[in-house]
């Protein structure tokens, strides 16, 4: 019993003085090592890439920036990884065709940067869509600029809290009415993947031609790859090709995940689906 009181006393004393003095702790120097010995130089920041209009009819302009002295930004337009011998960036780049721009910064004293990439599309082949009807309302915080957001031919950016984006927590069915019946052979749905913000790409997309009597015919369908834990946020174009058809009304079913995947902090809850554009094209 005396021993028990003694123990209590020790506990009380150590609680009263919650500060651990360093003299009582183990040495720590074995863990510290000079970092520079095996990884000598900092990496450059990623260049800032801005494209005036991602969807354009005649031309658009891309600019690149990394405001650090003696930096060279190099870029490619053929999808290849930029290298020391790629085209150096000097002034804004005029783009006329669909494609992808990749850029990377180089400097004599630092590790070269990560690659920044963006796709852009010439949509002069896109058919004019007269109207769009969506079967479910978007979430009140992410209403875009109304249903027209999906056919205004303006791409949203990485920031989804803008009038360019519509956000849903359900499967979305959009019915597009072309201004006149025309031949088309592909349809593109533009979405955002940003899993840190609980925004996922669609699980799948299906498109149907709707004839005058309202009869539907499946044109194409596609499953979309589920992002993994390590996926970076990205703007996505999902293109579905089909046999050329004369179309006047198209129904697009963009299926949302019923539940966020197991690896995510939001698992089991409905995921967010963000849409900003749908394009019907003949190309």
């Amino acid at each position: 019993m005396r021993y028990y009181y003694f123990l209590c006393l020790v506990v009380l004393v150590s609680c009263a003085s919650s500060i651990q003095k360093v003299s009582t702790v183990p040495p720590q120097n074995e863990v510290i090592e000079k970092v520079g010995d095996f990884f000598p130089a900092f990496q450059l920041g990623t260049p800032v890439l801005k494209i005036e209009r991602t969807l354009f009819k005649e031309k658009t302009v891309a600019t690149l920036a990394l405001r650090l002295p003696e930096v060279t930004i190099r870029y490619t337009l053929d999808g290849s990884e930029p290298t020391q011998s790629s085209q150096p960036y000097g002034s804004p780049i005029t783009l006329t065709k669909s494609g992808q721009l990749k850029a990377k910064a180089f400097h004599a004293n630092y590790q070269s940067s990560e690659t920044v990439a963006a796709t852009f599309r010439n949509i002069s082949d896109a058919l004019l869509v007269e109207s769009v009807a969506i079967d479910v309302p978007p979430h009140q915080n992410y209403t875009g600029s109304g249903d027209q957001t999906l056919i205004d031919q303006i791409k949203g950016e990485r920031n989804f809290r803008t009038p360019r984006w519509m956000g849903f927590q359900k499967t979305v069915t959009a019915t597009l009415k072309l201004s006149q019946a025309k031949t088309a052979n592909q349809l593109t749905v533009s979405t955002l993947s940003d899993t840190d913000s609980w925004i996922f790409p669609p699980a799948s997309i299906a498109i149907y031609a709707v004839n005058e009597s309202g009869k539907e015919q499946l044109l194409a369908e596609k499953s979309i790859e589920t992002p993994t834990k390590d996926s970076s946020p990205m703007l996505q174009f999902h293109t579905l090709r089909f046999t050329p058809q004369t179309l006047s009304v198209v129904k697009v079913v963009v299926k949302n995940y019923a539940e966020i995947p197991e690896w995510h902090a939001g698992k089991g809850t409905p995921s967010w689906l963000f849409l900003d554009e749908m394009l019907v094209e003949n190309r």
Binding site: S18, I32, L44, G45, V48, E81, T83, N159
Partner: protein, 348 residues
């Protein structure tokens, strides 16, 4: 994970992704090693000490290193949300002096105030939804719970305080940066005086009122400086909660304003489009213009407007606070950065 492992992982990831193409021995020697790199611009330039304050994480782990202050004895005090040791006290060389604190799971904001010659700490705990005032060695002297009496809150969960600031008269200001966006004003005893801000679109409202401090550069007219992180703005309010002016820092997600002489220092947790690991440090002059951005792009004003900022060098991941010592060296605490210890920037 300690810094050594963190850096190694970064290296292997970099190699795996092919970012070191055929760097021969000669090429490698041309690269500037960490300690020779000079960061920042103009009058505020620094050399980097990545090893400052690194500890054995088996004994003294950190999670997010949220904030740092210097006490009257010149010691550097770090607040982390690791409840094994919420407070880690260093000397300026980075030697460990003592640790304390195990009951602050949401340890986020750390402010030091000298009251009748004695140092006190104010901890904003965003998990406990309250402010805790302690002595410099960790004895709790006051707790301010969620401000139900202000009439804006139904439950504690709506109140997620990120920062405190103490006025010359002892009044306490709390910014609810992760909660309902109010700024709550108490007297020194913790009695409610005023509440302002909240969510909304106008200048007097906030989207992440993350940090707050008292600006005494005009000694006759102390005011509040409040960071609005999501909108990349620094806002000046009167002590009774009226908006005075707004300073735009486009591309800079600023955490809390730290006053030192005529300058304001701001850890910048992300830049540009909020890409991960894109942080840097922002330093403002007496007129609140950006004059130096260690690890950030050169500050350029055109027609009075700061051009959008971005990270220039990957020195930091997510800086969350800056502490300035009497020699004008900086200590940078980081959020979500692989459980690494602070980085010191030595003024050159």
């Amino acid at each position: 994970m300690n810094r050594r492992h963190f850096v190694k992982n970064t290296l292997s990831a970099t190699l795996a992704m092919g970012f070191l193409p055929n760097l021969g021995r000669a090429a490698r020697q041309e690269l500037a090693i960490f300690k020779d790199v000079v960061l920042g611009h103009g009058t505020h330039q620094y050399k980097v000490d990545l090893n400052w304050g690194a500890l054995n994480s088996n004994y003294y782990p950190v999670k997010d290193c949220h904030e740092m202050v210097q006490d009257s004895k010149g010691r550097i005090i770090l607040l982390t949300n690791e409840t094994k040791n919420n407070v880690i006290v260093y000397d300026k060389s980075g030697e460990l002096l003592e640790v304390w604190g195990t009951e602050y799971p949401g340890a986020h904001g750390l402010t030091l105030n000298v009251e009748n010659g004695e140092d006190f700490l104010y901890i904003a705990d965003n998990n406990r939804h309250e402010i805790i005032k302690t002595t410099i060695d960790g004895k709790e002297v006051m707790t301010i719970p969620f401000p139900k009496m202000a009439g804006k809150y139904d439950k504690a969960e709506q109140y997620v305080p990120t920062e405190t600031a103490i006025a010359p008269n002892g009044d306490i200001y709390v910014s609810d940066g992760y909660g309902s966006q109010y700024v709550i004003h108490y007297n020194a005893k913790g009695e409610l005086q005023n509440i302002f801000g909240g969510k909304g679109e106008g200048g007097e409202f906030f989207d992440n009122a993350h940090g707050i401090c008292i600006d005494q550069r005009d000694s006759n007219n102390p005011t509040l400086l409040i960071t609005e992180r999501e909108r990349n703005q620094l806002k000046r309010f009167t002590l009774d909660g009226k908006l005075v002016e707004i300073f735009d820092l486009p591309g800079a997600y600023i955490c809390r304003p730290v006053m030192d002489d005529e300058n304001v220092y701001l850890a910048t947790i992300w830049s540009g489009d909020k890409s991960p690991n894109s942080g840097f440090i922002s330093i403002l002059d007496k007129d609140n213009r950006l004059i130096s951005a260690p690890a950030g792009s050169e500050p350029i004003y055109q027609n009075g407007q700061l051009q959008p900022m971005h990270q220039a060098l990957k020195v930091f991941h997510h800086p969350h606070d800056v502490c300035v010592d009497e020699d004008k060296n900086l200590y940078v605490a980081q959020w979500n950065s692989g459980k690494t210890y602070p980085i010191k920037l030595n003024r050159v």
